[in-house]
């Protein structure tokens, strides 16, 4: 985050990757699958939201750990802003997922383990912000919320492995789902998908750095 705040080159990388995602994602040939048809292209826009959310939350946890071990107040701001952006990505992921699911699986919410997992991780981070707002003392708020951040994140990880084992998933990769398995290995989709994930995640970090700058400036104004 400190590095991202100082440098600019990765913003251009983000621009290039997302432009490529739109062009490549809409133009490159995709596997012709029943039910999905052209909506398979949503893969480059919906799924990166979920990846971006997890990576942003991971960044948030890393800074929570740094904050607890070092105590620098800057790290707390990083942690909060990354979590904030993670929630935004998570909400977008869930909403786009529900739209997509409505047309392919027949209903917006079908008790799918991955849908549930993303809903739970959103709940955790919304609780994180409720917790922050309910502690008055600033130092205590930063420390206690960092503790909850770490505690909840490390319990979310086993959840991601446990939930799919409990029931079948409609998502590719687990459960009985012949309509989707074909695109797991499709090289044309991979050509775009990985870059899309990096591009969208960089966008999330970019917005988080702007929010961080504003928040740090505000703190300095209040201190002065």
């Amino acid at each position: 985050m400190g590095y991202l705040l100082k440098t600019d080159w990765w913003k251009w990388l983000c621009v290039v990757l997302l432009t490529y995602t739109v062009i490549g994602g809409l133009l490159l040939p995709v596997p012709k699958l029943p039910i999905l048809n052209e909506t398979i292209r949503t893969l480059h826009f919906h799924v990166p939201m979920w990846f971006g959310m997890i990576l942003l939350f991971l960044g948030s946890v890393i800074y929570a750990v740094k904050h607890l071990s070092g105590g620098n107040i800057k790290y707390d701001t990083y942690s909060v802003q990354l979590a904030n952006m993670g929630i935004a990505f998570g909400v977008l992921g869930i909403v786009t997922g529900m739209i997509w699911a409505n047309y392919t699986w027949g209903e917006p919410w079908s008790n799918d383990p991955k849908q549930n997992a993303s809903a739970i991780s959103l709940l955790i981070y919304l609780a994180y912000f409720v917790l922050r707002s309910s502690i008055q003392d600033e130092q205590q708020r930063n420390r206690i919320s960092a503790v909850f951040n770490i505690f909840a994140f490390f319990l979310m990880i086993p959840l991601l492995f446990i939930l799919p084992r409990m029931s079948d998933s409609l998502h590719p990769g687990n459960g009985g789902n012949p309509g989707f398995n074909a695109y797991d290995l499709d090289s044309n989709l991979r050509k775009v998908f990985y870059f899309a994930v990096i591009g969208w995640t960089l966008l999330g970090f970019w917005m988080a750095t702007i929010a961080t700058r504003l928040s740090l400036s505000k703190q300095k104004l209040e201190d002065a």
Binding site: K11, L26, K32, N37, G176, P178, R213
Partner: protein, 68 residues
């Protein structure tokens, strides 16, 4: 769960050959997809422009406070 699997099996049964799956090929053939891409790219460019501007403004604010 069962109804999805049944539905998928039925759909695959009716459309066994992948070539029969209906895609928006006509739409692409007429070149209209480029219109869509152009519009999305313009919007994306607009947002990136705004992001860079916002970034610059935040940096300037940071500097101003630093100098105070």
């Amino acid at each position: 769960m069962l109804k999805y699997i049944l539905g998928i099996i039925m759909l695959i049964g009716t459309q066994l050959a992948p070539a029969q799956v209906e895609m928006a090929d006509d739409f692409r053939g007429e070149g209209k997809i480029y219109v869509v891409i152009a519009i999305i790219l313009v919007i994306l460019a607009g947002f990136f422009f705004l992001m860079f501007k916002l970034d610059k403004r935040a940096k300037r604010l940071e500097k101003e406070i630093e100098e105070k």
